[in-house]
């Protein structure tokens, strides 16, 4: 049996501490610091030198330098001029990756399961397009810091329930309030496609959805007419009002759909209504891969680390799903699982398909650049590229790999506090072990 009793060398951990020391971070504070303190704005340029840079959008750069200033990346390459007064960080032997993007998580909106009042994901009613998911993000939620330590810098906190659940925003996992955290509002309107098990209820729900969109179109036309001075002002309707961006083609529609029939019918609906959709869930997307490719519909795949949906399917069916979508040419992002406390599992969801044939770089792209493109935020995040936000991970290897230590994170250039609540407990109770001196007594 293996216990520690202080005798063993702790390879990864010690290396991590060494780096931390070099970075001048207070990881070995004698008393535990507060967890998850938001970082101050970047005050001076930072240059990280000597690292292997996985830009994701371009080539892997060996022994390169990344410079960022005022939160944005200003230079990436091997031949980079470090600005005057920059903080220089030696990262030789280390790796830089863009921060990971979690495109489907309740982080910030969900604290404790079973205690409904700590969960703000499900508004009453069938149609809630006026609900803005980000407006109830609790910046103090423990799960934010834990997810961040796993390398996730951007997330799309998600709603659920009804047929239209609300509008989703992309947020950074750092900040004192949700406004500071928000990278982009309204990246998608979430449609919760009805379940096909009961044919009658299913048809009724689809009819209700079609009717609602028709009402929204009528409302938009009336509003347009009024705004052009062609009619008197119509009475306002908060729900229908909130559909205007979708109908104008300015806002994507994210459709939760797993079953083959759901996906097929959602595609039909979107095509008839002329909407840009993203399929989320996508359990059976592989059966409709050709249709998805032909219509350029991307998929956010959830539930990778789960069992096959059907008895006859082989054991690795769920892990293998991204491989088939990749081979078919479908654009996809891996969305992990929605539970806020498990946002930190995103790397494991994205990495599992690698064991079953997904190229490692595709896996990485599925939680960085491809996720950003699907969400329409690739002008801000998703790669290490000049002009993008400085969302950067300094690591000992691929951030999807279990053995990799994520030593430091920058979000919009801010040097992030790596003390999350898990680490906080570690510090505090390691102190208890030291005080009690641990040894077995029996």
């Amino acid at each position: 049996m293996l216990t520690r009793n202080g005798a063993r060398t702790v390879r990864g951990w010690m290396a991590s501490l060494a780096t931390a020391g070099a970075l001048g971070l207070a990881l070995l504070a004698p008393t535990p610091a507060d967890a998850q303190v938001p970082a101050p704005d970047q005050e001076r340029p930072i240059a990280i030198e000597g690292a292997t840079i996985h830009t994701v959008s371009g080539q892997v750069i060996e022994n390169g330098t990344v410079v960022f200033e005022d939160g944005r990346i200003t230079a990436v390459g091997t031949n980079v001029q470090v600005p005057e007064g920059a903080e220089r960080i030696d990262a030789s032997g280390k790796y830089l990756f863009p921060g990971l993007i979690h495109s489907s998580t309740q982080v910030g909106l969900f604290e404790i399961g079973g205690i409904n009042v700590t969960i703000d994901t499900n508004e009453l009613g069938t149609f809630s397009p006026n609900i803005l998911a980000e407006t109830a993000i609790n910046p103090e939620s423990r799960h934010i810091g834990v997810a961040r330590s796993a390398g996730i810098t951007t997330a799309v906190p998600t709603m659920s329930g009804g047929l239209i659940s609300g509008q989703l925003a992309a947020v950074s996992l750092d900040g004192w309030n949700w406004e500071e955290m928000t990278v982009r509002r309204g990246v998608a309107m979430l449609v919760n496609w009805p379940g096909p098990q009961n044919q009658n209820a299913y048809n009724q729900s689809i009819r209700a959805l079609r009717d609602f969109v028709a009402d929204a179109r009528a409302y938009a036309r009336a509003m347009d007419a009024y705004e052009e001075g062609a009619s008197s002002p119509p009475a306002t309707d908060s729900r229908l009002e909130s559909m205007r961006a979708v109908l104008a083609g300015e806002q994507r529609v994210m459709v939760d759909a797993n079953d083959l029939r759901q996906i097929q019918d959602a595609i039909t609906w979107a095509e008839e209504e002329g909407l840009r959709i993203i399929i989320r869930g996508g359990r059976d997307a592989e059966y409709l891969a050709d249709e998805l490719v032909a219509r350029d519909i991307p998929v956010i795949l959830t539930g990778i680390l789960s069992g096959p949906a059907r008895q006859w399917e082989p054991y690795e069916q769920a892990y293998h799903r991204p491989v088939r979508l990749h081979e078919a040419g479908v654009t996809f992002s891996v969305g992990g699982e929605s539970a806020a406390a498990y946002a930190n599992r995103l790397p494991w969801h994205a990495g599992a398909p690698v064991a079953f044939g997904l190229p490692a770089d595709v896996a990485l792209r599925s939680v960085t650049l491809d996720a950003a493109r699907i969400l329409g935020i690739d002008d801000r995040v998703g790669a290490i590229e000049e002009g993008l936000d400085a969302n950067i991970l300094l690591t000992t290897g691929n951030p999807l790999e279990y053995g990799t230590q994520i030593e430091q994170i920058w979000i919009e250039g801010r040097t992030i506090d790596m003390m999350d609540h898990h680490r906080h407990f570690f510090e505090k109770y390691s102190e208890k072990v030291r005080q009690k001196h641990g040894g077995p007594a029996r």
Binding site: M1, G113, D284, Q311, G351, F426, P440, A441
Partner: protein
């Protein structure tokens, strides 16, 4: 029932007297005039099946007053007999249904809350089928339609259902129907919710309840006897009519008749029968073919249903993606169940019970015959076999002089042809089931009428009772409407359009069919009447009705176990010697990590690990080619593969229940877990009870039988549970964490007192022996550390408190499971000597899981606590290497991380003498990985258990093709035939 009876009686009072006139009884006084129609009948020209396999052609059978007088080819017809010319019809012995609820009440009656009963309403052994038989239930008539003349009546309710009776299916009152009483005792393996929702709530609770009640019955007889001998100075033992009634059962004088719902449940029933040495019969479920050898080995009679599943609706391919191969195979194979069992030597009886419409029984039996059941065996299964089993062979089951006059008259062979039952004679009384048509007007008739003068052809076709026809003249043909035929009056009626007589409107005709002529009259549209005649010129066209038999046996399905998706054909072989060469060998033992290592296996055990081991000449060589090889992974806490409930919630304290009683091999997760490198699992009771049930160990021997998946000679462990799960039920003690401690403490004290009471009695031997209490026996074993405590826990205080309590009783907690806050009491755990079996990263799903940290294992190991991971989830159990790998981010070394799912796990479960590391003498359970086992890129390449290769990535493609192809074949087969 109190409400229902008067209604039924009232209804009957309205019926014509003749239908309910009592059969003359032996003690019933006569009212009015006696009815004495002669009871002597001779059946001549019959094909008589006197017993299975013996057929007399053109024979005569004579019955007199309910008893067969003679049967044979040369039998002369008695002068006083009524003669029934059989015209070659077949006569069988009346059928016997070996398992029937006909006339058995569906709900309990007054007896529920009266009299000295057992504490648990599921024990109703005092009930007698004969005593509760409902008069005129009408259910016997339904069985008669299928040819049954006798039924073995089993009370419906409870787990100890009472004594059974054999009864005639005549319309006589019960006193004239009972053939034999107290024949067997009815058992059922799980609780009956008609009797309440209390203990036992689970299948494993059912097993424990059966055992305890049988023990109580044994104790009861002894206690009563001791007390009767010298009651003075003794505490009077309780009076209990169920325990009293169980006396002959526990003495083995009356068979235990178990009603079972799956092949595994049948084998569980057999386990109970064996433990208590009870002669046993079984009412099977129809799935016994899945464990044919095991069922055959019991050597006990099995009563089988013929209610075969209907094919799934496959019209929409999207909707039916979810139809499994297991479902499809069962649809196809279920009709073979009776044949397979009979051919394997099982004594098989067939029952109509389970059919929605009992009258379909003969056609369902023909389906079974089509699918391999020998027709003679089929007949025996409803005649001689049940007669012998039920002890009425002297009077029932065959057609021979002196036997009861129970006959089935059919127009052909019921077991091989689409024949119909015409009459069933019960106790010498005829019951007409299907009356053959007295007149058959089908055919072509030349029809003439004088005024108005017309001729034409009348063509009648279809089935008697559903006739259709046409009127044909030169080239034109007009359909008849409203065609009717009354057999009793021989009256035919139909309508014709008026234009056949040159009028507008409808012609209505009524006529008498007399042999080959029809004569009658009609009313024309103008109100005038005309008579007509017709002569038959052509008989009905030949052709029998539709064949209602099942699908042909044309598919050659694989012989796989389990009989479902990914089941395998036979177990993998166990080579005598296996040498795995050139591996990166994670021994997880004293040899640490061996690069370029060899692993030598002999007869399923590890013989040596090292470098450059010599290959014995007979060794099967496996070249790992540098791949990583680790011990088979172990999951310390899993709930998959359990039948009939994970929790026994019927009581807060249930250590007498045992997961090992209810393991199932029909568990697809095992295949998936095996494919993920899992070789051993600790399959645990749920967390509903402060002291839960005992757990079991399985090895992932996918394809083995229920008994063979069990980890041999495993240590005993018990589940305890603390915190929210056990306190949140406001209707049950405890509701607080303090109460949890108190109820455990109270039971610990009770167990010590129980132990002392037995010790005292064993020394003195005086008086009534103490009652054996399985709950207390388990608790004594727990306190004495023969059963290790594996306690579900979250919060630090509850962990701390349970350790305190254990120390008060000089025992200890082997491991705390889940232990979300175990890190907060790491030094205390180390001091107590308890281990921790935890999740890698579960958090936030309830309040007590909120203070979670992925550093839990790290802190615990730093403090010297032996630590393991667990899945608590079937899917996670299929990737425990990745669970271990997650711990690398908290600073554990690779070997420390892997120890959380191998060596440490084995220690905490007490199975480290067998598994958990690659060391000489241990089981050859190992995994060859495609990559570093703690990498995202790793999957199992091969998983070996006991030196057998149960999983091989290279064979995987064949399995999935075989699974998908067989599924596709079955779907097409249903579309073609279903």
């Amino acid at each position: 029932m109190r409400v229902r009876l008067p209604i039924v009686t009232g209804l009957l009072a309205l019926l014509p007297l003749a239908l309910v006139a009592p059969v003359e009884g032996q003690t019933t006084p006569v009212e009015g005039l006696r009815s004495q129609a002669p009871g002597v009948h001779a059946f001549t020209g019959a094909r008589v099946v006197t017993e299975p396999g013996t057929v007399l052609d053109n024979a005569t059978l004579v019955i007199r007053d309910g008893v067969i007088e003679a049967v044979g080819a040369d039998v002369s017809v008695p002068a006083d007999a009524r003669v029934h010319e059989m015209d070659g019809r077949t006569i069988y012995p009346g059928f016997i249904d070996a398992y029937s609820y006909a006339g058995m009440p569906e709900e309990p009656g007054d007896e529920m809350d009266r009299g000295p009963d057992y504490w648990n309403p599921q024990a109703r052994s005092f009930v007698q089928a004969a005593g509760i038989l409902v008069e005129d239930s009408g259910q016997g008539a339904g069985l008669r339609e299928a040819g049954f003349a006798v039924a073995h009546l089993v009370p419906r309710l409870g787990m100890f259902r009472g004594s059974t009776a054999v009864a005639s299916l005549s319309d006589a009152p019960p006193r004239d129907r009972i053939i034999s009483d107290g024949v067997a005792h009815g058992f059922r393996m799980t609780r009956d919710t008609e009797l309440g929702f209390g203990y036992p709530t689970s299948a494993m609770g059912g097993m424990a309840f059966l055992r305890q009640t049988l023990l109580d019955a044994q104790w009861y007889q002894e206690a009563q006897e001791v007390y009767r001998e010298s009651p003075q100075g003794m505490r009077r033992p309780e009076t209990d009519r169920s325990l009293e009634s169980l006396g002959p059962v526990v003495a083995g004088q009356v068979p235990a008749f178990f009603r079972t719902t799956s092949e595994e449940e049948l084998l569980r029933a057999a386990r109970i029968a064996a433990e208590f040495d009870l002669p046993a019969w079984y009412r099977g479920s129809g799935t016994e073919y899945r464990m044919l050898e095991e069922v055959a080995a019991l050597g006990a009679p099995v009563v089988l249903p013929v209610s075969f599943p209907s094919a799934p609706n496959l019209s929409d391919p999207a909707a039916t993606l979810g139809v499994s191969l297991g479902q499809l195979r069962h649809w196809y194979l279920a009709p073979e169940n009776p044949g397979r069992l009979a051919n394997a030597g099982v004594t098989v009886a067939l029952t109509a019970q389970g059919l929605n419409d009992p009258s379909t029984f003969p056609e369902q039996v023909r389906v079974a015959v089509d699918r391999g059941l020998d027709p003679t065996t089929a007949l025996a299964a409803v005649t001689t076999t049940p007669a012998e089993m039920l002890g009425i062979g002297a009077t029932h089951g065959t057609l021979a002089a002196g036997k009861v006059a129970n006959l089935v008259v059919a127009d052909g062979d019921l077991f091989t042809e689409n024949a119909r039952i015409h009459d069933v004679w019960v106790d010498g009384v005829r019951h007409e089931i299907h009356r053959p048509a007295s007149v058959d007007p089908r055919g072509r008739w030349t029809m003439t009428s004088a005024s108005p003068a017309f001729t034409g052809d009348l063509v009648l076709q279809g089935q008697p009772g559903r006739l259709s026809g046409s009127f044909e003249r030169t080239a034109e043909s007009t359909s008849l409407s409203n065609v009717s035929l009354a057999q009793e009056s021989r009256r035919l009626g139909f309508h014709l359009p008026g234009d056949v007589v040159g009028m507008e409107g409808t012609v209505r005709l009524t006529a008498t069919v007399a042999g080959e002529t029809i004569h009658g009259w009609g009313e024309l549209p103008d109100g005038s009447r005309a008579s007509f005649q017709a002569q038959r010129v052509e008989g009905p066209s030949a052709g029998s009705g539709p064949d209602s038999r099942g699908v042909p046996a044309s598919l050659d399905l694989r012989d796989i176990r389990p009989s479902q998706d990914h089941g395998r054909e036979g177990l993998p072989e166990q080579p005598s010697v296996v040498l795995v060469r050139n591996a990166t060998l994670w021994t997880m033992g004293p040899d640490g990590l061996i690069e370029g290592g060899d692993l030598l296996v002999r007869e399923g055990r590890i013989e040596a690990v090292g470098q450059n081991l010599d290959a014995p000449s007979d060794a099967v060589i496996v070249d790992a080619d540098g791949a990583h090889v680790t011990p088979g992974l172990i999951d310390a806490h899993l709930h998959s593969g359990i039948s009939g409930g994970v929790n026994e919630t019927g009581n807060a304290i249930v250590p007498e229940v045992w997961i090992g009683d209810v393991l199932t091999m029909n568990n697809t997760w095992m295949y998936r877990q095996l494919a993920g490198g899992l070789t051993t699992a600790h399959v645990m009771h749920g967390s509903a009870n402060p002291i839960g049930g005992q757990n079991a160990f399985v090895k992932m021997r996918w394809g083995a039988s229920t008994d063979e998946i069990v980890f041999e000679d495993a240590p005993r462990t018990v589940k305890f549970a603390l915190g929210e799960n056990v306190t949140r039920n406001t209707n049950r003690y405890p509701n607080t964490r303090q109460g949890v401690k108190e109820i455990i403490r109270d039971n610990f004290r009770a167990a010590r007192e129980y132990e002392a009471e037995w010790a005292r009695w064993e020394e003195s031997g005086d008086g009534i022996p103490p009652r054996r209490d399985l709950r207390m026996e388990a608790l004594v074993d727990i306190l004495n550390e023969d059963i290790s405590i594996q306690s579900h826990s979250y919060r630090q205080d509850e962990i701390f408190t349970l350790m305190h309590l254990a120390e008060e009783f000089d025992t200890r907690i082997k491991a705390f499971h889940h232990g979300v806050e175990a890190f907060k009491v790491a030094p205390e755990l180390a001091a107590h000597g308890a281990g921790a079996v935890i999740w890698s990263d579960w958090s936030g799903f309830k309040v007590e899981s909120y203070d979670a940290t992925t550093y839990n294992a790290r802190i615990l190991m730093d403090a010297g606590v032996v630590t393991s991971l667990h899945s608590d989830n079937s899917q996670i159990a299929s990737r425990m290497n990745w669970e271990a790998a997650k711990m690398l981010r908290t600073g554990l070394t690779e070997e420390e991380a892997l120890s959380l799912v191998t060596s440490n796990t084995a220690v905490l479960l007490g199975i480290d003498d067998r598994v958990g590391s690659l060391e000489p003498g241990k089981d050859a359970d190992f995994v060859i990985w495609t990559d570093h086992p703690l990498s995202m890129a790793a999957g199992a390449r091969q998983t070996w258990i006991d030196g057998r290769k149960y999983f091989d990535l290279e064979d995987e493609q064949q399995d999935r093709e075989a699974t998908e192809q067989e599924r596709a074949r079955l779907i097409q087969f249903i579309l073609d035939n279903g």
